[in-house]
Symmetry: C2
Subunit: 227 residues, 2 copies
Amino acid sequence: MTRHPIYSLEFFSGIPESILTSIASDSQLRTAVRNQQVITKGSLGDELFFLIKGRLQVIDVTEDGRELCIYIINEGEYFGELAVIDGGSRSTSVVSIGDAELMVMSRHTALQLIYSHPILAERLMKKLAYLVRLSSQNRAMLSIQNPYQRICTVLTTLIRTLPGNLKIIELPPQQSLAGMTNCSRETVSRAIGQLLNAGIAEKDRKTLIVREPERLQHIVQGKITTE
Amino acid sequence: MTRHPIYSLEFFSGIPESILTSIASDSQLRTAVRNQQVITKGSLGDELFFLIKGRLQVIDVTEDGRELCIYIINEGEYFGELAVIDGGSRSTSVVSIGDAELMVMSRHTALQLIYSHPILAERLMKKLAYLVRLSSQNRAMLSIQNPYQRICTVLTTLIRTLPGNLKIIELPPQQSLAGMTNCSRETVSRAIGQLLNAGIAEKDRKTLIVREPERLQHIVQGKITTE
């Protein structure tokens, strides 16, 4: 028998197994396919989501109808917490990049859990603080005039360090990177090409292996002038 | 003897007076003058601030050196919570618009309070959720092409309803409105002039009295075409 995914979610680490078992039976497991909308901006929502498998993009629709990908949700992360906390409508849409598996918890269960376990309240607060910081960085990034520098800034935020100090970036779709940085898909493609040509990164399918993170950082800081 | 300002702060409503008395003696009262920087972006900070008197502006400095006013802090509100929650550096600067009085609490005291009173954790979470929503609205606002529509959108978010259903806007400095909406001070001045000419609002010193909130809403929604 496969173990319920709730036991491997970092958000719940430290919570007694008996409590997790009872939450697990209260929660639903769902799947999503490529491009499926998991959350629709503006709708009323009263569920907290945990991403068990796959990758999702958080999308905002601008007033003039463009879709901006704001950030990527990775395996093990949760989302949908704003509406759970304040009972308001969904502030952004969430779309599945490929196939995905989700665990879904009712607002009632989620709030009860959070307010009875200070460690969960603390984790949630830290995540919200992170989101506020992210949007503030995002504002600063979008104010950079040079699109190549904007793209490198976003790529830097996506770096993950693997054991052995290998730094990789799981590339979001180019269309998403274009949306995040407010430039065209062609510019994104050219910027990545330049990083490869300069030997700053290597590409392995959809992953960038960052060979020279410091040079990437220099581009972000505007120390290296580019196109 | 004047009562300590802590007893009138909404954030602490419901917290036993004996606890407030002990926090009050642990906290400092400070003053700030016009244009004084209360928090500096990028600095390390371990204090939570409560604005007792005055008005402050939250300012972000963009990569190319422009100052963007993001929002206004009004009497009775608190700020500086991000660094208190996650121990990181200050994400924005805070500058006093005029003379101001502040109550300042150490990070240690603030965290102890928050984690031992779920109602405070809940209030803080709701505020953080509000900040995330605000930045998301901000992104949507900045994507509007027409500057007049952007200015009206920001003005709408500043409306306060007084007893008797009177709707007013305490105008931030024009330079701040210009920063918030990414347009020139002249454009802000012209936009406000148009609202007065059209009878949508009246001006009383630094306060706009909104006579026709629905027409203002129509401009925000792009239903009325303007310059």
